[in-house]
Amino acid sequence: MEQESFCANDSLESVINAYSNMVYRLAFSHTRDRCSANDIYQEVFLRYIRKRPQFETEKHRKAWLIRVTVNCCRKMWTSSWKKKIVPLDESIIFETKEETNLHYELQKLPVKYRTVIHLFYYEDLKVEEIGEILHKKPSTVRAQLTRARSKLKEILKEGYDV
């Protein structure tokens, strides 16, 4: 089952550097707090370092990292430890008032919609690609996106074209 790595020469360090922002932003989009995103970020790469998975393409490496990040996010919400803690208020300094407001408004979006919104609007993945990574049918992803957009329209009062 050993597969050839598409980027066999890529060291663990270069992979971590290349995908740090992607993993962290996805974790943050899900948790919307730095403290939890830090924990998830570390767990994802700890798993990567321990497992040292081999991939035939970078696309598969990216898909693996996205999927593991999403799994870690889900685990965080179900862990008894998470239920008992209050995250530290480590705010991110956004450049504009609009960005700050958007960050706070997105906290109102149900957790179940945050991942598809991020993968669609930030990672620019197509519905089919999101389905492949999350192991959901494209129709399920499409339905989630529709419901998420509808929620966003309710939440965002600034007249964003969602």
Binding site: M1, E2, F6, C7, A8, N9, L12, E13, I16, N17, A18, S20, N21, Y24, R25, F28, S29, A37, N38, Y41, Q42, L46, R47, I49, R50, K51, E56, T57, E58, K59, H60, R61, K62, A63, W64, R67, N71, K75, S79, W81, I92, I93, E95, E99, L102, H103, H118, Y121, D124, L125, K126, E128, E129, E132, H135, K137, L152, Y160, D161, V162
Partner: protein
Amino acid sequence: MFREEYRKMNERIFPDQEIVNKVIESINKPHREANKSIALLRKSVAIAAVIAIITLTVTTALAANVPIVYQLMYAVSPSVAQFFMPVRKSCVDNGIKMEVVSAYIHDNTAEIYITMQDITGDRIDNTIDLYDSYSINRPFDSSATCELVGFDEASKTATFLISITEWGNKKIEGDKITFSVREFISHKRMYKDIPVEVDMGSIESNPPTMEVNPGGGGGRKYREFIPDYRRTANVLVPSDSMGFQIEDFKLTGIGYIDGFLHVQASIKRNMVGDNFGYFILKDKNGKEINCVCNFDFSVKEDDDIKYTEYIFEVPPSEIEQYSLYGYYVATGLYTKGYWQVTFPLEKQDLEDDEKNTISATIN
């Protein structure tokens, strides 16, 4: 526009360098328990041939009474195998049986052997891939991995080794964990090292190009070709066919753009979505050159054809020294179900009858 605002907001979000450094520093940190687990896995690969011989030479009674996983465990490492205790909890769904065979708890680490067997058909083979669809629920903070370590052709049984390490250095004995699997892929068809018959000496240096919006991608120089601030990329205009095809994987273009070799392929999307292919270059000594960037794109909305552009960093003056090869992996079967087993992490008395019986029979 929401997309633009969301993108701008996300550009301000990144991990503290301190955390990135901490993760990078952990790469080379010795980890006794993790190393033990890795050593076990490495041995399992190396002794695959030994397992086959053992399978052929053990007695019929042994084959009937001792699960193949015990043979695997003892062949991998007899000194560790004796500490694995039987669990024997199973779950059947969609004609496939998942069984937690044995577990070894030591300090803050649990190693667990799990088998999956198709009891009604032939859906499990040595290409089985849980594709991260498995889930390990446990009531403590930990990291966990699951690896395929063996496949028994006769009983169509795949064996997986799960390793769980608790993070706080606490003993995990007495806790319960739940292992579940929702789907898997199997019967993959793999095509490797397929020569692409193109004249490397007459690659177009000024091919027709077009601008696309890249989807997913990667590679060492991905961000150089597609930086955060630019969401378009220049690609070859796809041709219908260039004479190279492996199943649904077709070469649709090759040419130089801005001094970089672009090789383009199309692939038909499928419901399972795990078919994938790629190209590599090899020099006359067989040394492989991977692309420095690759990304997907579509030509038409809702098209079931996905294109991938592979970009290689080989100057035109040297390209004749290389040959192009295609690789393709096609998913055969996609099986859904829900297999879940909950079991306690328990240490058992070393004098346990069953363990002694197994040990005596194997040795």
